[in-house]
């Protein structure tokens, strides 16, 4: 299992039976494949569908049925399609239980910056601003650092996607919850010390009294 699969598998444990879940492009998309059969999860895709099925077989792709990255998908038998206004009504209206997305930066106030690096990369926010504001729980799934640069900060330096919206961060080093007091480390990767995690985290970590080892 590589680092990204490790993160995705841990995030999958957060999804509860009956949840409506939106997965971002990239690493978050991998979460779906780690959901165990005992859970009935309804995946939402912001381009206008609910009920993701297994990945289509090569040669059997239906290009009228795609995810928010424009990639062909399949629908579960209870799947349903709708327009973008309905889709974002679902998102902003609090009908999505969990959104999982990647990020460039997250800070101890739960601020998130993941849509622009001014002057370098301007992809646009897509549906991310609506998702992080509207979903009941926001999970950031990302590698702990990027090319040695820290991503979990005291304060984001890039333009915000939203303020005070992140609830949880899952990386290859640990699971962190955003609390009013700061970032609480609740789980730590096997064979990793708290000092090692803190060393690559700009924000001061609060260590849970009940710190567990990530069981992935």
């Amino acid at each position: 299992m590589n680092i990204k699969e490790f993160i995705a598998k841990r995030v999958a444990q957060e999804l509860k039976d009956g949840n409506v879940v939106n997965l971002g492009i990239g690493l978050p998309t991998m979460v779906a494949s780690f959901v165990t059969d005992d859970k009935d999860i309804t995946f939402q895709s912001e381009n206008g569908m609910l009920g993701l099925g297994p990945a289509p077989k090569e040669g059997e792709e239906d290009f009228d049925l795609t995810n928010a990255g424009g990639m062909p998908i399949t629908m579960s038998t209870d799947g349903v399609c709708f327009d973008s206004a309905t889709s974002f009504g679902i998102i902003r209206g609090g009908h999505v239980d969990i959104t999982v997305l990647g990020s460039l930066q997250v800070d101890e106030k739960g601020n998130i910056s993941n849509w622009i690096i001014p002057g370098k990369m301007v992809p646009g926010m897509g549906g991310a601003m609506d998702l992080v504001v509207g979903a009941k729980k926001v999970i950031v799934a990302m590698t702990h650092t990027a090319k040695g640069k820290m991503k979990i900060l005291k304060k984001c330096t890039l333009p915000f996607t939203a303020v005070n919206q992140v609830n949880m961060i899952v990386t290859e080093l640990g699971v962190m919850e955003i609390t009013p007091e700061g970032i609480l480390l609740t789980e730590i990767a096997p064979d990793t010390t708290v000092e090692q995690v803190q060393e690559v985290t700009e924000a001061k970590l609060i260590i849970s009294d009940n710190l567990k080892t990530m069981n992935v």
Partner: protein, 217 residues
């Protein structure tokens, strides 16, 4: 009223400098035949409103690559490097709007609303220059309606009167755009007789559709 027109008649409805809403999400649900006709024409200086910038050789990306777009209003341009290049060169103006806000602006434009209040974008650069309104202790941004001269849509089955149904996730922005433009043109994969569609399944009622152009099945 005869709504079915051919491709040359379609081009005669367009003028330089017009604002055009184009249906589709990452080119899924975009009327490629109508786009291709514009690429072949002399029409230019367009303001395009679309979820995204398409791909360099597909969807609204073809209009961008052909240098026909003066301004793009979209939520995402990341999968079309040509759009990013033209934005940084300054040859195309780009206004980025959160996706849920963009579609709701279009819905408001078509529904006679003066705008709407959304929590999306609060505390970000999206907020700049916008009014913040507090309702029962919660803050919202005032977002205004969006309309355009022309809507270009992709219908899966369209009857001769203009009643339209869409296929799966090709629906996306199409139904909202049908309500928010002066002239609405649907590229129909299949044109069927009036009465052939189940009224319960029709998504866009015929009164919104001005013209139908036959596309590919």
């Amino acid at each position: 009223m005869k709504k079915i027109i051919d491709k040359s008649e379609f081009i005669s409805k367009l003028k330089n400098g017009m604002s055009i809403m184009v249906g589709g999400f990452m080119v899924v649900g975009t009327p490629e035949n109508l786009i291709e006709e514009i690429v072949k024409s002399d029409i230019k200086d367009l303001t395009i409103i679309c979820n995204d910038a398409g791909l360099p050789n597909k969807g609204v990306g073809k209009l961008i690559s052909a240098g026909k777009v003066k301004k793009l209003i979209a939520s995402h341009i990341g999968l079309n490097p040509e759009a990013g290049k033209r934005m940084s060169e300054g040859t195309m103006e780009v206004e980025l709007v959160p996706q849920g806000t963009l579609v709701e602006q279009i819905r408001s434009g078509g529904a006679g609303l003066g705008g709407f209040l959304t929590p999306t974008g609060l505390g970000t650069i999206v907020q700049e220059g916008k009014e913040i309104i507090e309702v029962e202790g919660e803050k919202f941004l005032l977002e205004k309606p969006l309309k355009a001269d022309i809507a270009l849509l992709l219908g899966h089955k369209v009857d001769e009167k203009g009643n339209t149904i869409y296929s799966k996730t090709t629906r996306n922005f199409n139904p909202m755009m049908a309500t928010a433009c002066e002239i609405v043109i649907v590229e129909a994969r299949e044109v069927v007789s009036i009465g052939d569609l189940n009224p319960d399944n029709i998504v866009t009622p015929h009164i919104f559709v001005d013209y139908i152009v036959k596309g590919d099945k």
